[in-house]
Amino acid sequence: MVGTDAVLVGDASSDTRTANDVIRKRRWAYGITAFFALVSIGTYSYNEYYTYLSVYLWFGFIYGMCLQYGRFCFSSAFRDLFAVGVPRMVVGIMIATVLFASVGAFVTATGLSTFHSAPVSFHAVVAGFIFGVGMVFAGGCASGSLYKTGEGNSNALLVVLSISITQALFVDVGGWTNKLVPQSWHDSAVAKGLPAVINAGDGWVDQYLAGYVWNQPVTTFAQMSGWSNESFLGAFLGNLLVGVTIPAALLLIAVYIIWSRKSFMRRRAKEGLSTATFSDELAGYWAMITANKRTAIAGLILGIACGLHMFVIQGLRVKFGVRNAGTLLERMGFDFGISINGTVFDPGYWYVTTQEAQWVGWVFQKLGTENMDNIYFGFVNGIPNPAINPADWMSIALIGGAAVMALLNNEFRFKKPTLELATWAMIGGALMGIGSRLGLGCNVGAFFVRVSQGDPSGWLFGLGMFGGAYVGVRFFNWWTERKMAKQFAASDF
């Protein structure tokens, strides 16, 4: 008989070792938290403008803690439905989305939103598809890989590196790829009249952006309903209710019917309870929503934090009289890595992939590569020194926050990658990097944030991720089936 009793009995020395291990991990958790506190205090004492950096940092820290606590991975939401029929993450993400949307609607209605809608077209579906395949191969989405890095998972770190490097290379690719660009994109990109140093007619991504994506319509559910985003009706009825709450509820009903209802009713029948009435269905729906409390709680806090993040950043912009962190950096005397528009990447809300591309872009620049002649780095986001780049600290602190939560819960563990997993990590990370740049964001920036703010392009990216995850799971089913068959044969099964 196997059971916990046999395992939980240990000698005194092993108990002491375990207790010491817990104490050691807690010290590390406090140390990491103290490090970020020192960064905040130290930079603030140098210049109050660094408050901006600290806001990103501490919201990143909260995101990391929430993601680790709730095992919150967008990849899991799509993948586990197909792979093992588990809906817990879809539920968690929809809870977070609706809450973020609720706080976001309030922020938008007060005129303090930092959000800008993205172009709406089929490109978002294609980008989401590529991203979706990648996140299944990699074993985690862009944000999931960050928090898993904080758990000590070096495989997730490889994914982060792969996403970062691929993006930095992809946005600057030119040469033979120019021949793949449709003439209409080239002509349209050149006609935009961007500064000569950007040379928008050279480079695949430049021509994709300026020649195609920028020509697509930009809208929200509020605007489609005839309201402005900042009006009460637009923010709460158009974006929150029509754009987020109703689709989320319908999506969860579909998930309940396909993946959750059967097992719920079977359990209910086993207990001798009714299974035929509408209230039984409501009970099943609610049971699915509350099935995983950790995920639900994480989704709740995450959603509220995301909305507050926008509010606080916009408040600081008003306080300092700026529209972008690039101005603050210039005021403090930094001029390297700022875009030709005087901007750096400063979304004003949770975002993951661009700051990762900037890390590598900055390194490439220091190694002698000229990569400020493309739209992504040179015209919009820049490549400031990572140490003073506010969005960078959001991701660094996200890893730190996840590490703190994992250490406090005794779940931190260094894991070396195997050759098999490292290969999947690199391939999956590369696909996510390409998908991110095509979709102008990842599972967070292109899906979670856009959906929450009533931007239909977010749903299109999500649709693509759904399809990509399905294909990825089908492939992994085949892959694991082969490996399992060998094990079954070897174990005389």
Partner: protein, 81 residues
């Protein structure tokens, strides 16, 4: 990944070192192959896989009869229903 027979009706699935979705997919495939009443001891160290395996078992009716979670390493014994 290692799957082996430990005794009659008792198996071990070691997926330590694997990240999502491998542990939950391998667990699902092992349970599908086993007979009703058989037990599989699943060893894994990816916390998020635990959440998925737990929900999967709840949905299928398979019973997690023992859980040992220690310092980021997990050993769960699951009886096929």
């Amino acid at each position: 990944m290692k799957f082996e027979k430990k005794a009659d009706g008792l198996f071990v699935l070691n997926v330590e070192g694997y990240v999502c979705p491998h542990p939950q997919i391998y667990t699902k495939k092992a349970l599908q192959k086993m007979n009703v009443g058989d037990v599989v001891e699943v060893l894994f160290d990816n916390p998020s896989s635990g959440e998925s395996i737990a929900t999967m078992c709840e949905n299928t009716g398979d019973e997690i009869i023992a859980k040992n979670d220690e310092a980021g390493r997990y050993r769960w014994d699951i009886r096929k229903a």
